[in-house]
């Protein structure tokens, strides 16, 4: 399928009656999850994954991706209104959002943040569309040996660049790969770590693993912490005043279009690199906004450029992250790993097929990101005050409701009680990883990549022999991986010596 044909078909599907309702529901759901502190983008996606079994590809992708696309918008709202980032990626918004609220300009900040999010996401999505012709050519150079080595390079990037400790993250990534090997080997029919359990013959099911690692683990956290979801409630503005200020904020964000473009470019570029994610992108964009501002001294005291820069970069990340996920099947973050799992459930293959044959699906993703953010912006503009009240729900009520949804989702995926058991076990593992600072993203990415790693290792050895990694591209990727680890270990040693 050609790019123009894919664009028209993708647009048509995204606005069709079959897809649009899911896109709208997904956007609103994502926004509400984003508003609730402690629940993030991967939580929103994890909750929606069980429904995919009953859906067609286009509605399924729209449902899943729309929820993820609007989480940052919701999180920005909470950061501005309650000084608590709804998600980790909104941490940079805390620097100037709450000071603006203290000055009585909460609505202006919300309006500017929402618009910046929408424009940033649109920029990232367009960048992905423009990258498609390049990806179509590049992906042809990547056969089994290249994908095998690339998987390890991606895991290394995630382990090194992620916010968690490198050794712990590498352990998590390898554990994820190991867990993915459970079940019957498709090539030799060898049972591996099944303990004779029929339920494990097909391997550990994807949905319960995702729900356990990300949803149940958060429930543990909320249950242990208890109390309300935000520590301090601030008075909200009247509905009329909020609307007036929001439109003022939208106007300011549109006037600062050049800043939005620059910060979005930063976000998209960072999104392509596996492991970095939205939070660093937002901080780098914030730094850039401050450096290039005429009023640097007001940053941190309520400068709207700080809010615009951080929020634009936040959402622009998605376009870049989607590029590596759809082209190589290498997810750069936990959310992209869940998306990849969702694509498997929907019967779609990433890689060459996705960027050459299923171009319309890529465009459904692109339009979902754009429309999802637009819906989020409109929804957020008119319902700021009511949806912000979601944060006042006590965890004693929130946890049982979410647990009910999670358990039902785990069962519904395959109609098996065993899946609920797997969910609980991975909930404990996820919670332990969370409190011990082990990267759950690395584990999930390892788990999702496991099948590709095994299949490509087998094919690579069959096609090119044991020393397949000595071919030019795999060797270069191997050297980058080793060099990257060595450079970071060296950096750690130097840092330790300096501290002593």
């Amino acid at each position: 399928m050609g790019i123009l044909e894919g664009l028209v078909s993708g647009f048509g599907q995204a606005i069709s009656f079959e897809v649009l309702p899911y896109l709208i529901v997904g956007s609103i759901f994502g926004m509400i999850i984003g508003i609730i502190p402690g629940l993030s983008g991967h939580f929103a996606m994890a909750m929606l994954i069980p429904f995919l079994y009953k859906m067609d590809p286009a509605p399924g992708i729209a449902f899943l991706l729309a929820a993820h696309a609007t989480v940052a918008q919701g999180g920005g709202l909470t950061a501005i209104l309650f000084s608590t980032p709804g998600t980790g990626q909104n941490a940079a918004t805390l620097l100037d959002g709450p000071p603006m609220r203290e000055q009585g300009k909460a609505g202006v900040a919300v309006g500017a943040a929402m618009t910046a999010c929408f424009l940033g996401a649109t920029f990232g999505a367009i960048a992905l569309a423009l990258l498609l012709p390049v990806l179509q050519q590049v992906v042809l150079f990547f056969g089994p040996p290249e994908i095998f080595v690339l998987s390890f390079l991606a895991l290394t990037f995630i382990a090194v660049l992620g916010k968690e400790d490198m050794t712990r993250s590498l352990i998590a990534g390898l554990l994820g790969l190991l867990v993915s090997m459970i079940g019957i080997d498709n090539v030799t029919n060898q049972e591996r770590f099944t303990f004779g359990l029929l339920e494990l013959y097909d391997g550990l099911p994807l949905v319960p693993v995702i729900l356990g690692l990300f949803a149940v683990a958060e429930m543990f956290d909320l249950f242990v912490k208890g109390g309300s979801l935000v520590d301090k409630q601030h008075g909200t503005l009247s509905a009329g005043e909020t609307q007036k200020q929001i439109f003022e904020g939208i106007g300011i964000a549109l006037k600062k279009w050049w800043l939005v473009m620059r910060c979005s470019a930063i976000g998209t570029t960072i999104g392509i690199i596996p492991g970095l994610g939205s939070a660093p992108a937002a901080f780098i964009a914030y730094g850039h906004a401050k450096q290039t501002s005429k009023s640097k001294e007001t940053f941190g005291k309520g400068n709207i450029e700080g809010v615009i820069g951080a929020e634009a970069a936040n959402d622009a990340v998605e376009g870049g992250a989607l590029a590596s996920t759809v082209a190589f099947g290498i997810p750069g973050s936990s959310s992209m790993a869940i998306l990849l799992g969702g694509l498997f459930i929907l019967g779609l293959e990433t890689g060459v097929d996705m960027v050459t044959t299923d171009v319309d699906i890529v465009f459904v993703m692109i339009f979902t990101v754009i429309f999802g953010n637009l819906i989020g912006t409109i929804f957020g503009m008119f319902l700021v005050n009511p949806i912000a009240r979601a944060t006042s729900i006590r965890s004693s009520i929130m946890v049982p409701i979410l647990i009910a949804v999670v358990v039902t989702g785990a069962f519904a995926a395959q109609g098996s009680l065993f899946d609920i058991v797997v969910t609980l076990i991975f909930g404990v593992i996820g919670y332990l990883m969370k409190i011990l600072n082990y990267s759950r993203a690395a584990m999930l990415i390892g788990y999702v990549l496991g099948h590709a790693v095994e299949k490509n290792l087998y094919l690579a050895t069959q096609l090119k022999g044991t020393f397949f990694f000595l071919s030019p591209i795999p060797l270069t990727l191997c050297l980058i991986t080793l060099g990257f680890i060595a450079y970071n270990v060296y950096g750690m040693i130097v840092d330790r010596e300096r501290q002593q």
């Binding site: 712990r168 004693s396 009910a404 358990v407």
Partner: protein
């Protein structure tokens, strides 16, 4: 005071990490031994993963041991198992509640089991009012029924009790 709490929390975390790593090391070694018995094509990817994994786990145990006193860690683990570490005790309680929820679903069925467990969590653990404790589970169950059974046509587990009275052989 805050410093003391932080130190105590770090000691507890180190002890928990050590205990977790030891369990992970034992399981990984067991996986390694099991992998030896597999066909080479099936065990090759396992070795590619297990060799660096074992090394990294040992490195992390060494790093944690350097930060933590082994005897103190052992005492913390003993205290945790005796229910004297609050966060650990609450986490274990939550896990037991989740297991109880599973048992409820198995016996009573999905909706009844969920409502029962939710009522317990909201009323007994959360200390909420009776009205709230009844309302939230009922509304949640109705919403789940509408979403799963009506919208997505996914039939949830009916429970062994129902199956028994419906004439199924359940044992």
């Amino acid at each position: 005071m805050a410093n003391n709490l932080e130190t105590e929390s770090a000691v507890n975390r180190n002890a928990l990490e050590l205990a977790t790593l030891f369990i992970a090391a034992v399981l990984t070694l067991a996986a390694f031994i099991a992998a030896i018995s597999y066909d080479f094509s099936s065990s090759r990817p396992l070795f590619v993963i297990l060799v660096p994994l074992v090394v990294l786990i040992l490195v992390q145990i060494y790093r944690t041991m350097k930060q933590a006193n082994a005897e103190t860690s052992l005492n913390v683990v003993k205290a945790a198992l005796g229910g004297k570490v609050l966060d650990f005790a609450v986490s274990v309680k939550f896990f037991i509640l989740l297991l109880a929820l599973l048992v409820c679903i198995y016996i009573l069925g999905h909706y009844a089991g969920l409502m029962f467990a939710m009522f317990y969590l909201i009323r007994v653990h959360g200390g909420e009012s009776m009205k709230m404790s009844l309302m939230v589970p009922i509304i949640t169950a109705l919403a789940l029924f509408a979403l799963f059974e009506l919208v997505f046509s996914i039939e949830l587990f009916q429970g062994q009790l129902y199956r028994y009275f419906a004439g199924y052989r359940i044992w």
